[in-house]
């Protein structure tokens, strides 16, 4: 269980929903030696880790979030889908299973219960974790390229295509011979 929360910082593998940093590939060797022995070792390891891990989780692992009604749940879901998980950076706060995402979801719900608006909650997180937590960054000079760059590229490409098509249509195309067979 616990090693699911572990985050690699230096390994080459893609980011996963993890909490701790920089875990080396400690469990790789049994497989590399191959065979049943390695798998047995791994199973034993899992068993031996499972008991204390379940205990260690108990303090930090939250009970499921309690929503007052469906509207609140829908609002919570919309809000957390717009926020990025700071640990596993390719997931939204709603989807992530990292420990910090659990904590931040709880925080978001607490803030909602305190009567904070969506913008206030987003500002709360941005003040602590930076612009990075937004999937929709604010429109400001630093993000203009991000917001309008794709449209500019599309426009540029469109102009190029238009000119090419026009110049080709202007070229004299010899009329197909009457007796040409297609």
């Amino acid at each position: 269980m616990r090693d699911l929360l572990v985050r690699r910082s230096k390994s080459k593998s893609p980011p996963a929903p993890l909490f701790q940093r920089g875990v080396k590939r400690a469990f790789a060797s049994p497989f590399e030696k191959g065979g049943l022995r390695g798998i047995c070792f791994l199973l034993l390891l899992c068993l031996s880790l499972a008991a204390p891990a379940a205990f260690a989780q108990a303090a930090g692992d939250p009970t499921p979030l309690q929503f007052r009604d469906a509207a609140e749940e829908a609002r919570f879901h919309d809000l957390t889908s717009e926020l990025r998980c700071v640990m596993c950076q390719n997931q939204s706060l709603a989807d992530s299973n990292a420990q910090i995402a659990h904590d931040l979801r709880r925080e978001v719900l607490d803030l909602m219960h305190q009567g904070k608006s969506d913008d206030e909650i987003i500002d709360f997180l941005v003040a602590r974790y930076g612009e990075f937590v937004r999937y929709k960054p604010a429109v400001e000079p630093a993000t203009w390229l991000l917001w309008f760059g794709p449209a500019l590229l599309l426009l540029g490409g469109g102009i190029v295509v238009m000119r090419v098509v026009r110049s080709r249509s202007r070229r004299d195309v010899p009329a197909p011979a009457e007796d040409q067979e297609w």
């Binding site: 929360l5 910082s9 980011p15 940093r21 920089g22 303090a59 904590d103 925080e107 974790y129 930076g130």
Partner: protein, 191 residues
Amino acid sequence: MSTPEARPRRSRVALVIGTLVFLGFLALMFHGVRQSGRADREALPSPLIGKPAPEFTLPLLHEAGHMVTSKELLGTPYVLNVWGSWCPECRVEHPVLTRFALTKRVRVIGYNLKDEPEDALRWLEQFGNPYMLVLADRDGRAAIDWGIYGAPETFLVDANGIVRWKHVGAVDDAVIDGELVPLLEQLEKGR
């Protein structure tokens, strides 16, 4: 209708522009690939840098009844090191941090994140305790105010309680000598 002489020149201009755009994209891609090799490529820049450290009231790990507030820590700079007994990378940075703490250059304060007190105390007993004091944040609520999202993380807070620096991931000698110590020198000069 373009004249026959104008056409080749225009297509040459288009070729140059196209090549430049292509090279630009290539450079961007190359830059991205190089950046992805950095060890701290996932580290988020903290928006707290240059701002006051969050206020907190946290118990000491070694004396659960004793609450420490952020105000009590003002006066001289301190280094805040976030760790947990569940964090393997903390073990990696521990000897480096211990060596640095022994220079007594600055107060090194531990921030025990989401840990069982018994586990944390055993960890310190096993590896040694480099910290002047250790704050215990069991539920991780105060950590959100610091923008902490894992361990290890290390902050430098100046005498006035302004956050000056943050490092995400294990600190090594290069980080301490290249970033932390120069900043401390700057702080000492400024006073």
